[in-house]
Symmetry: C2
Subunit: 322 residues, 2 copies
Amino acid sequence: MASAPAKVILFGEHFVVYGEPAVVIAIDKRAYASAELREDEGIYVNSADLGASGVFTGKRFLVERGGREARAKLEPVKSAVEQVLTLSKERVGVSIEVHSTVPVAVGLGSSAAVATSTVAAVSRLLDLDLSKEQVFRLAYEAERSVHGTPSGIDPTIATYGGTMLFQRGKGFMSLEFEADLPLVVGNTGVERSTGELVASVRRRREQYPSIMGWIIKAGGKTALKAVEALKKGDLSAVGELMNINHALLSAIGVSHESLEKLVHAARDAGAYGAKLTGGGGGGCMIALAHASRLNRVVDAIELAGGSAFVANKTVEGVRIER
Amino acid sequence: MASAPAKVILFGEHFVVYGEPAVVIAIDKRAYASAELREDEGIYVNSADLGASGVFTGKRFLVERGGREARAKLEPVKSAVEQVLTLSKERVGVSIEVHSTVPVAVGLGSSAAVATSTVAAVSRLLDLDLSKEQVFRLAYEAERSVHGTPSGIDPTIATYGGTMLFQRGKGFMSLEFEADLPLVVGNTGVERSTGELVASVRRRREQYPSIMGWIIKAGGKTALKAVEALKKGDLSAVGELMNINHALLSAIGVSHESLEKLVHAARDAGAYGAKLTGGGGGGCMIALAHASRLNRVVDAIELAGGSAFVANKTVEGVRIER
């Protein structure tokens, strides 16, 4: 069994598309994958979170649970297994059980954490001694084969853990700071399509290039100022910058009433700051709060109709559990 | 009896302090002042809206209704009367009844509309034939003697009506466009101090000069783009720009949960767009909506806890009623 961390985007969603920096944090909530050898050469995948299981044999898929959507849901895990099998050149069958402790498909990197932990679990099963770089590469390829051309943010964080500054064309830079980062993640439960939101921002930018240009620059600068504040351990300033950043995301049109409700509930409950995280239009928000107020913020978010959990940064990336 | 219109700031609150343009609109809700000569030389003022009345005689004030706060509340009206008496050089007493059809002290220019209509009513009573420029000047002086150094936006709109583009250092430019401007004004009922909000924006700008600089520029540009859209009669674009502008005001820290509630309620009810108007931190918001949706937007705002009324632009400034 191996595990890898989920992530939150602290700053930079959407603005990163236009070259601004993003700050992404591995959180102490993880996805787990257990791997076992099979008698046959099939790849069996079971995901309780997705409510789906079945066996891939060559190009065929035999559904066990989850109906018509099961195959598409499980494909990324199968792809991760295949990446390792191809590298090892072994012709064996593998059974994988995956479990994520964060909600899936809400921008918390659950899918990449599952792929990364699957790569690690299968490579250990086959006695391959992969470097982290190799684990990342295989997990990234598995995601790419299913999702097109992702930025690589999610498998990078799932593999290496910690906090990363990402910028298009410049890649990743690891950020180190001592302060705890006590977060509450709130899920609106409202589904949205990140792709459509990215497209709507692009349209608004074409319509109002100078307005959007200034907003995007301001968004990028809030991320950089927040990094300075994190290094100083000034969580109050980080929170204020989160509030500014959230309003800028609202200005580019990616907030949603459900997010506003949770964000305001968290601020009212004494959070340093709160913002949407990920694509917006629903999905999740995060609040930064003093450790003594975390549960108050959780309660406020749940009273406002969301579901919430506490998370903190973690430096631990992918790891073997047993 | 004379009357003068209330106003709404369509765009530019706060950003105007930093040299960006503001778009201010006279609305078809008015303040009324009736003037009568008195036997003595006192100035009697009665305001049902303020719940205050009393007589000013020289430096003394005799309260009739409204207790200790009555004098401060009625002072601006007395000052408007005095401006006219000084100009006319007549030594007479005057009784004034004032009534505003918009809520007072929420940034809708009620105070300036009362002062302007008082100047017009008293000058007609004394058979002075003042130009609009003179009426404006006296109303402005009356406000200035009580409120310090206001921008002059409110008495300008109360005097001339219509729509004005205002920019610091450049003054006023009258904007003409054919389209109706069907607005709903929503009052949160939450009291705030515009002065404190202006000061908090200044502090945030000192702390984050480049972030705030870009946001302010973006805010100014939304006003100019909205003027283009108004001239084309494209209310849908004006609404979108109102939404962007509202988020930018939120980014500089002057929104409030009560405003967010009403703004989102209005958007959900099908408004083209909605934003706070005036100082923020409570006070009022405005929504722009197709005429057929105005009442739906009013209902939505009231269900969300605000009080609301419909308003449209008016070209009529100060006028004699009878």
